[in-house]
């Protein structure tokens, strides 16, 4: 067990370092932060002086090592653009992103499973076909188009939901939340649905396929033959078994939700991390960009790590293979 755990841990750290290095070397191609930091009046000498001060003239690997050294200490430096510590900026915006991702995941899972089961059971019903066709739009329309359409429909035409922002937030000291005010709850509806659509359609199709497969199996046939109620067969016997792969995939996809929230946050002016990142890219704010990439890589690696460990605990086959290999 310990052996397996350590192996995974070392792998995870390696992946993070590689991801961090690759993204860090890309920063050389995003432009010159100094141009954005000083006015157009600044002389060439002053620009050079600032480059020197920021260490931008050092080779990439020196800059990278310095960055990793600071990151391990929890320091990500000060934003070039906002002149504030990056760790503080991220901490300020993390709650907004996590609340958005949490609600989106909830919407995606609940409605995805319900609709998936329905379409799995009523394979050729009219409603099933309509759901599947609509879900096709969910997969194929880009997020920003859906977001803008929602804004025009619900904010401009119907006037029932706010067009942007997060509403009033309540500061709980360690966390600022939009869940405690009416305007905050109203504000999260459109962005969370927009962000959830892709995952939702994904889950619908996955659950549907699983259900259809399981409903063909022998134990379901026997259950039917025994005269067990249809609902009990569908939900207790079939769905329960069908959910295992769904949980795994959804777990991994929550990480994707964090990453994809960038677009949703930009469209809805949602004050989260993704929005901070996009602004940082425009400004070439390297401290924010690198801290964000490290964070997202960390989230992905952590989720994968937890999933791997969970597999090990749940699935005896991996455990046995591992033990045979180590003997």
């Amino acid at each position: 067990m310990l052996n397996y755990f350590l192996k995974r841990l070392i792998q995870s750290i390696l992946v993070m370092i590689v991801v961090a290095f690759v993204s860090f070397s890309l920063f050389n191609y995003v432009g010159d932060p100094v141009h954005n930091m000083v006015g157009q009046e600044a002389s060439t000498e002053k620009r050079q002086e600032i480059r020197e001060k920021l260490g931008l003239n050092d080779p990439v690997h020196t800059q990278f090592l310095r960055f990793i050294g600071n990151a391990v200490k929890g320091e990500f430096g000060i934003s070039y653009q906002l002149r504030r510590p990056v760790s503080e900026l991220i901490a300020e915006r993390l709650p907004a992103t996590l609340e958005l991702v949490f609600i989106s995941a909830l919407i995606a899972i609940i409605s995805g499973v319900i609709l998936g089961v329905y379409t799995g059971i009523n394979r050729d019903g009219y409603l099933s076909n309509i759901i599947l066709i609509i879900s096709l739009f969910g997969v194929s329309l880009p997020t920003f188009v859906i977001g803008i359409l929602f804004i025009y429909l619900f904010a401009v035409i119907l006037g029932i939901l706010p067009s942007f922002g997060r509403g009033e937030v309540v500061d709980l000291g360690f966390w600022n939340t939009g869940f405690l005010t009416l305007s905050g709850i109203k504000a999260i509806i459109l962005p969370s649905i927009t962000l959830s659509l892709f995952q939702m359609t994904y889950i619908i199709r996955l659950v549907r396929a699983e259900m259809m497969e399981i409903l063909q199996t022998d134990y379901i046939k026997f259950a039917r033959a025994r005269g067990i109620q249809k609902n009990i067969i569908n939900f207790k016997h079939a769905l329960k078994n069908g959910l295992i792969p769904v949980i795994t995939i959804t777990g991994i996809n929550v990480g994707t939700l964090v990453a994809f929230s960038i677009i949703t946050e930009t469209v809805f002016q949602w004050p989260g991390m993704g929005f901070l990142f996009i602004n940082a890219v425009h400004f070439v704010d390297i401290p924010i960009m690198s801290a964000y990439l490290i964070m997202v890589a960390f989230i992905f690696v952590m989720i994968n790590f937890v999933v791997d460990i969970t597999y090990y605990v749940i699935d005896p086959r991996i455990r046995i293979k591992e033990e045979v290999a180590s003997e």
Partner: protein, 521 residues
Amino acid sequence: MNIKNLMKILLTFLFVGFVSPVYSANLKWSMPGDSLTLDPHAQNEGPTHMVSRQVYESLVTRGIDMSIEPQLATSWKAKDPETWVFDLREGVVFSDGTALNASDVEFSINRALSGASDMIELIESITSVKALNYKKVEIKTEGPNPILLNQLSQIFIMSEEWSKKNGCESPQDFDASEETFCSINALGTGPFKITLREQDTRTVFERNSNWWGDQSQHNIDKIELLPINNDATRVAALLSGDIDFTNFTPAQDINRINSSSGHKVESTPQARTIFFGMDQGSDELRSSNIKGANPLKDKRVRLAMYHALDMDAIKDKVMRGLSEPAGMITFPGVQGYTKALDTRLPYDPEKSKQLLSEAGYPDGFEITLDCPNNRYINDEAICVAAVSMLAKVGIKVNLDAQPKSIHFKDLQNDLSDFYMLGWGVPTFDSHYVYSFLLASEGSWNKVGFSDARVDELVGTMLTETDLDKRNANIAEAWAIVQDNMPYLPLHHQVISWGSKSNVDVPIRTNNEPLFRHAKVN
């Protein structure tokens, strides 16, 4: 959760439910980005100044029509060509009630000249600032400086006591690891004070009841700045009533906003001119098929390119009517601008071809045009149109459109043969254009233009205090430049402000709203 937090939550409910409708003259203002910092000397950048200007004031300022007006100073005179004395206004206090005096002015200008201040280059001719007494300030410059007032209108005055007490005597340095108090708080003498600051989300300004000015010239009790980056979302927010006013209205949505009965759009030429630079200094172009020679050195080639551009078509098709075709690279209101110089040479592709043949390029040549794609209004689309117009006269242009952070980096590193650039003039004086774009050593002179007489004139523009002589110098310099055509003028940008019909914010050519003149009816 403790009692205090519970109270906060309950109060928030109360606030949402009851308090907000009580403010009769609230104004919700939006722009794509936020102020980068509340420190008034740390960033010389548009939106940052737009926010600071509501809170901070300067010795002199620009009114709605952009002319220089007294603000914190009521009068000034030049004791000798290098020494100015300013008399400060009586009865000015900061929004916390402490009085403004001459030592605050001395402190603020010195602060703007120190450390990582982004204002240093603007006022570097100032050699010393001294408070003579409580209400008198003496400013000495290195040599005579006829545009000192223009420059001082950009320098905001802070409270010395407040700054020192909070540890921000100088603007924050780039490699500092702590934020400063002054970058997230503001204390000025202006008509508004900032009561809430959430970067990129919400900034609340409230009426400063201690302001020295005429409180009845505006009726705004509270301004909320709500930045919205996405154009479509910002327009939707305006149409749905979530915001009242934006000074960044995308051209493609103007008709949509005008067609709504409760909204209006106003437009005015902006203080920014867009042009192409052509490298005529290098002996060989980097991106051309012509080797061993630089076609752009030949004035006939530059004129041929000028005659090939149909700026009226670009105005109609690309800018949706929102541009003013330009004949010179600066705009109305700048000292030295004349309508005659700003008249474009005619669009004439036949003449272009003829000029190209005379210059020895009857089949044209190949060149790369570098263009930003997120800096100026429709920048990339203008370049695309120009490429096809130049193709018609035989010049094969390859377009390289990139984000501004890369575009300007390449320009700074002298990597471009042919590029787009826009130039605003905060001082409203031709010297600003010449010292950066046309002097041989100008830091933005990336076209390699060099003319001994122009260099001489740039020097005298800075020191000649006889205004008639100085204007004659400026006119002579423009005559030389217009004759050589080192840059291809394109157009002056036009800006548009959209708002609810009952909101009146006077539009200004520098795109900076002055809410001290705003009315909500």
